[in-house]
């Protein structure tokens, strides 16, 4: 999460969680590798959302050392430079309704051109505004953010016969978000290594720090736990199937500190200026995930295809499905081309809306218990597609390049389309074995 947030639970946070999720898959991959070797790698990734939205430049360093036949050490370090505009939670002015708390009379908020955090009566500064402003009633209010994120991860895979234990420590550091993660993964290869059972536990200690643009006045904390159980089965020499189940919970401050919400009955600060309140999510979240994947070798054309399905449900009432398909085509001895397509669809959180009734001060009785206008909690779907190319230039040297496009669209008919980003992701990297 992090800054951002008038920023969103920004991209860094999203990437952070995404990467953390990927770590669950590492034991499977590690066991599947025929010949582990010492290696080092570097990758630069450029993520750019359209229309001046978030841009992330990432540098990722990776090193792996086989310290002993039974010990494999791995470390990676990531630097993210994040900048760009992010929605603040308010809808475009021409969709805002204002309701007088005393009379119930409804008027339009289309005159609004600026937004100020509720709780602040004025701002002292040297710029002419001191608020988030828009040029027209149809423009989505956004705020500019910048931050740097530094993250590291160290793991040690210890093999004892058919058993492998992988303790892991990770950290992430941004101006407004600090995280330390501990995990222990276990894998058991049996049935002549045709079957692998995996189990894991991870805990994350997160600290959310007040920062420019946030609604936070004091440091808050969040604790997360995840438990994973899974099995990977080689069905035939050409077919592998894997099933994973994850249970998780988070407790503490689960808001995005940069996201605001607009209430119907909040008096305007002036005829053109509205007040935004901090969003309010439950302080506890439980989730369950199931992942099914099937990898099939297509020997006649020197290729493999991997299909996957992921089911997600959480106590925010978000139900999500992800379908993925990756084709890995080997061309000659040194080139692999891997096009990918992924489709993601989710329902809305039970407390999501673009605007809320009442006002926390003048009409508190009408205010729902929880409220958020973060578009990432809305009903939506996302398409991701692209291709990765890997070239093995020498026996000890490979390069890879990838391009992915990410397109998110709303499905509820009320959230402004401008909320949903379209992004291009380009990465270039190299790896050496020694």
């Amino acid at each position: 999460m992090a800054k951002n947030s008038w920023c969103e639970q920004r991209v860094a946070a999203t990437l952070n969680r995404w990467r953390r999720r990927l770590r669950w898959g590492l034991p499977l991959l590690a066991l599947a590798r025929a010949h582990a070797e010492d290696q080092a790698g570097y990758r630069h990734e450029y993520y750019q959302e359209h229309d001046g939205r978030i841009r992330v430049n990432s540098d990722v360093f990776l090193v792996q050392k086989i310290a002993a036949p039974w010990l494999e050490l791995k470390a990676d370090f990531t630097c993210d430079a994040i900048a760009g505009a992010t929605p603040i939670g308010a809808p475009p002015a021409n969709t805002i309704t204002l309701r007088d708390a005393a009379t119930g009379v409804v008027t339009s908020g289309s005159t609004i051109r600026s937004y100020r955090k509720a709780g602040i009566d004025a701002m002292s500064g040297a710029s002419p505004g001191g608020t988030v402003t828009v040029r027209s009633a149809s423009e989505l209010p956004t705020a500019q953010i910048t931050d740097d994120r530094y993250a590291g991860n160290v793991s040690a895979a210890i093999s004892v016969g058919a058993h492998q234990f992988t303790p892991q420590v990770s950290y992430s550091d941004e101006t407004d978000y600090k995280s330390i993660g501990l995990a222990l993964n276990y894998a058991w290869a049996l049935n002549q290594k045709n079957t692998t059972l995996v189990a894991g536990y991870a805990h994350a200690f997160d600290k959310i720090v007040p920062n420019s643009g946030t609604f936070l006045q004091q440091t808050r904390h969040k604790d997360s736990d995840e438990v994973l159980l899974g099995v990977s089965q080689i069905l035939t020499p050409q077919t592998v199937v894997a099933v994973n189940f994850t249970l998780g919970q988070s407790s503490g401050y689960l808001n995005d500190p940069y996201k605001g919400v607009l209430f119907e009955s909040t008096p305007l600060i002036s005829a053109t200026e509205a007040a935004l309140y901090s969003e309010k999510r439950p302080e506890h979240r439980e989730k369950v995930l199931a992942l099914l994947s099937l990898t099939q070798a297509v020997s006649p054309v020197h290729a493999s295809v991997e299909g996957s399905y992921r089911l997600y449900y959480d106590s925010f009432d978000i139900l999500a499905h992800t379908l993925g398909l990756t084709w890995r085509q080997k061309i000659g001895d040194r080139l692999v081309v891997a096009p990918l397509f992924r489709y993601y669809r989710q329902t809305a959180a039970s407390f999501y809306d673009t605007q809320f009734t009442g006002d926390p001060v003048v009409a508190a009785a009408l205010v729902p218990t929880y409220y958020s206008s973060d578009y990432r909690l809305s009903e939506s779907h996302t398409f991701t597609y692209g291709v990765q190319v890997t070239v093995k230039a020498l026996d000890w040297l490979s390069f890879d390049a990838a391009y992915y496009r990410y397109e998110m669209h709303g499905l509820d008919g009320k959230t402004a389309d401008a909320n949903y980003p379209t992004a291009d992701v380009v990465s270039l990297g190299g790896r050496v074995w020694f």
Partner: protein
């Protein structure tokens, strides 16, 4: 000009002095609110016409273009007395007259004369002075809870509706429009000087050159807005630690200086910060 009301809380907004002027207050009757609205707007219009250096017919323009004595009224005399005092207090870090500076200005009761080549610019004091005058106007009408905000120079009295104070966000020079912190004040003024929005526009009167001492913004909390505005500009010119030492000379004033690499503040500034 727009006046809106929620119960007995009134909010007046109007453009003037190249910025947005806001006046929030609690009034017993609608008639009183409208009277304050009319008088405040009229006073600001008169003030701007008189002291803007961008209006050719203004008093300041006449002083700047005339090489002879120019007659001034009692209010202007008082304003110049204040300039005199603050130039002395700041050791020249605040000076409303370009080289050779305020010390070369000739004054006599009811008249002033500038030396050749010098120009008077009340830009560093005018808006803050207007805040104080409109604030006094509101208080003279018996208004209890008052906030005057002219382009982010603020003076308050009493409390914001439903709160124990007025909450003023301090703009983050790294991200204009966002707050890096919030202060709670009940009978104070808050003013900030910075060059993060218009780099190089604050000049050191002693050299005539833009200030390049690493300062990004200086916020001063003081008893009135004119004092807060002058101190924030002077402290910006002086930089830390001299800027903080200057503010500490003024009873009841507190300051925070944000530089490119650090943050410095007077001993009691933290007492106003909302934690």
């Amino acid at each position: 000009m727009v006046l809106t009301a929620t119960g007995d809380d009134y909010r007046l907004t109007f453009p003037a002095m190249s910025t947005t002027c806001r006046l929030n207050f609690r009034a017993a009757t609608n008639a009183l609110a409208r009277q304050v609205q009319t008088e405040a707007r009229a006073w600001v219009a008169t003030f701007e016409a008189k002291y803007s250096r961008f209006i050719p017919t203004s008093l300041v323009s006449r002083i700047n273009t005339s090489r002879d004595w120019v007659e001034v009224d009692e209010e202007t005399d008082r304003l110049f007395d204040l300039c005199n005092e603050m130039v002395f207090l700041t050791g020249g870090a605040f000076d409303p007259v370009s080289a050779p500076g305020w010390s070369a200005v000739e004054r006599r009761p009811g008249a002033v004369r500038l030396p050749a080549g010098a120009r008077l610019d009340l830009g560093g004091i005018g808006k803050e002075y207007a805040v104080d005058r409109v604030f006094n106007l509101a208080r003279q009408h018996g208004l209890l809870d008052v906030l005057v905000d002219f382009g982010q120079d603020v003076r308050v009295y009493g409390q914001s509706p439903g709160k124990d104070a007025w909450y003023i966000g301090l703009e983050d020079p790294a991200q204009p429009g966002h707050c890096w912190s919030t202060v709670a004040v009940t009978n104070h003024a808050v003013a900030t000087s910075g060059d993060y929005f218009r780099p190089g526009h604050i000049r050191d009167p002693r050299t005539g050159q833009p200030v390049h001492n690493g300062c990004r913004a200086v916020t001063v909390i003081a008893g009135n807005c004119t004092q807060a505005g002058i101190l924030s500009t002077a402290a910006f010119v002086l930089g830390p630690p001299a800027g903080l030492e200057l503010v500490q000379l003024c009873l009841g004033a507190e300051a925070c200086i944000i530089t490119e690499t650090n943050r410095y503040q007077t001993r009691n500034f933290d007492a106003y910060v909302v934690h």
